[in-house]
Symmetry: C2
Subunit: 232 residues, 2 copies
Amino acid sequence: MSLKLFELVGTDPSRPFSPYCWRTRMALAHKGLSAETLPWRFTEKSAIAPHGSEKVPVLLHHHKPVVDSWAIANYLEDHFPDRPLLFGGEGGRAMARMINAFGDIAIVGGIFPLIVADIPNNLAEVDAAYFRQSREARFGGKTLEEVMANRDTGVVAFRKSLEVMRQTLKKQPFIGGAAPNYADYIVFGGFQWARVVSPFKLLENDDPVYAWREKLLDAFDGMARTSPGFAV
Amino acid sequence: MSLKLFELVGTDPSRPFSPYCWRTRMALAHKGLSAETLPWRFTEKSAIAPHGSEKVPVLLHHHKPVVDSWAIANYLEDHFPDRPLLFGGEGGRAMARMINAFGDIAIVGGIFPLIVADIPNNLAEVDAAYFRQSREARFGGKTLEEVMANRDTGVVAFRKSLEVMRQTLKKQPFIGGAAPNYADYIVFGGFQWARVVSPFKLLENDDPVYAWREKLLDAFDGMARTSPGFAV
């Protein structure tokens, strides 16, 4: 089978950092699938435009493009049904939609102001300039440094926002139950993104979410832990 | 089959209002099961103590007690597997744990300060006194009226906290997918609780969450809509 994955990187092509690409990386590993990685940078829009996307991840399966991490997870589930299930049935597939929204809003959205000014350090000049300009516009013209200025208090609110997850992990080892599934990878993608680009400490060591993240760093022979990042 | 359900009521025994009991009511209806209702009030601890609980819902199945709405949903799924599924498979059962935490924290916890001082209006004097004393202690001695004083601004934050759900409902009709399942009932229970005890308007009419709530009010021949409550 031929699988290729466009993944967001910066100056180091072996250091993928997008939270959405990490969702896909973990999903591929869960299915026991390997994909050739195609390193992609923010300003390389022309490389993925022919595949109908402006963003990554983009998966190519026998040259057919599948765009967006959620669509890719569903594609993998439907095209490789005999391999370990990502959703654990149709109920899980539906509910994972809400966990996907939690991952986008509470996790990626919550972490963003805590690490945003660290991200350009990982990027070549042209990509750093693009990132700064596009993201500062989203924050109404604030500099990335201004957005991040209060992260020591912001992280307290972020940790509080994880209570829903914390209560879940007090009852069962993973969001997906006894073993991790795509629900876990959705959320983990955000934490791994932070780990790759920033030394900032998001979680306290005695947090059940910390213990959960440790287990996912170790999953698939330590795939996420051995990928370049900060020890957090 | 013999099913009986202890349900929280106030002065009107035909007006059940607990968010957790409503989760169970909807779950029973989903399974096509009917249970004899056993109206129960806050101060009637002795009625359920023999069944090993201090709180409702308590389900009796051939006299065997099942305590706690989550445990009851799982019990129904396991004991009535040939009836419509509440979780849609093991993945859904696991992920519903996190939606249950969302229901407890964001929905019940979020609605509580918006309606709390309206609740005693529904209770007999002895229950109202118990409710006031126990809940005011939880809020560090604030009166229920003080807790609710800022609800006009509090409801704005509450609506914002529903964004995770709103994003989900823009993609699919129900949290459970094309049709509602227990994930929906978890969240709906909180809205129905508010509707029964308080005239306060929680949702704006153009909110996708409002449209979703309308559909659940209509479910099972309008079971929740025809149960006594306020038009909200």
